[in-house]
């Protein structure tokens, strides 16, 4: 089956992205494909390349990178949610006259159309929610 995953929660503040990752790993191991992971709401914070785990205790940044490399998975940060939360790439940084940027290059910044498109092209959409 074709899955898409929606993540609302930030790493370190919410369990949602960790649960999403474990779910995706199992789904792939069971022969399913994942069309897209869409990071919305505070989930956009998963896209920051500046987050640091001093004790290397956060599996997530490496985990998303491996999923991207091994499965060429589409990892989309909602651009609206991202720029409000300071998760921006070089292009947005220039557009909004910021000095720095923060988006990890394994993620793509794109619009909510990518969420709607994911619901159309997937057999299942699973949300990992957070308030």
């Amino acid at each position: 089956m074709i899955y898409s995953i929606v993540v609302y929660g930030a790493p370190h503040s919410s369990q949602a992205p960790y649960s999403a990752y474990h779910f995706i790993k199992s789904a792939l191991a069971m022969g399913h494909s994942v069309y897209r992971v869409f990071f919305y709401h505070d989930g956009a914070l998963n896209g920051s390349s500046l987050a640091v785990s001093p004790q290397d205790d956060n599996l997530l940044p490496d985990a998303w990178r491996k999923l991207k490399e091994l499965h060429n998975m589409d990892l989309v940060i909602c651009i609206g949610a991202g720029i409000k939360r300071g998760v921006i790439n070089q292009q947005e940084s220039q557009r909004y006259e910021r000095q720095q940027h923060s988006l990890d290059d394994i993620f793509e910044l794109s619009g909510l159309g990518q969420l709607v498109d994911a619901t159309l092209k997937s057999d299942r959409v699973i949300t990992f929610g957070a308030r």
Partner: protein, 120 residues
């Protein structure tokens, strides 16, 4: 590709968090893609639809006006949980847009019909 039945459930109160605003943006995106869109407002999510209010007093933009524009986007299936409305001492007259009041049993049937459900 034929239109999918997308169901958006609003359960969170406005302004205290940004789920309502995020949900509204998602609904508008779905309507642009010509999907079959239904909205359910339940619990404190019903306050998203209360008419009036001046959020300048708390320094936040009033995104709730966007719900009034939904009809222009062809989104007119807006459901409110009748018991939740009543539990809040509301009658429906306080709401900014026309809604359909359904019982929980009727809402459960609407949920069963959806292809995809997104919660906010």
């Amino acid at each position: 590709m034929s239109a999918k039945r997308l169901l958006f459930i609003f359960s969170a109160s406005p302004f205290g968090n940004s789920l309502g605003s995020a949900g509204l943006d998602a609904v508008l995106a779905a309507s642009v893609f010509d999907q079959d869109v239904t909205l359910i407002f339940q619990m404190d999510g019903i306050y998203q639809l209360v008419d009036g209010g001046n959020s300048a007093s708390i320094g936040l933009k009033d995104y709730r006006k966007g719900f009034k524009a939904l009809e222009m986007y062809g989104v007119d299936k807006v459901i409110v949980d009748a018991a939740d409305l009543n539990e809040r001492g509301l009658t429906g007259n306080e709401l900014a847009i026309p809604v359909q009041l359904l019982t929980r049993k009727e809402i459960a049937a609407v949920i069963q019909q959806a292809d995809t459900v997104l919660s906010f």
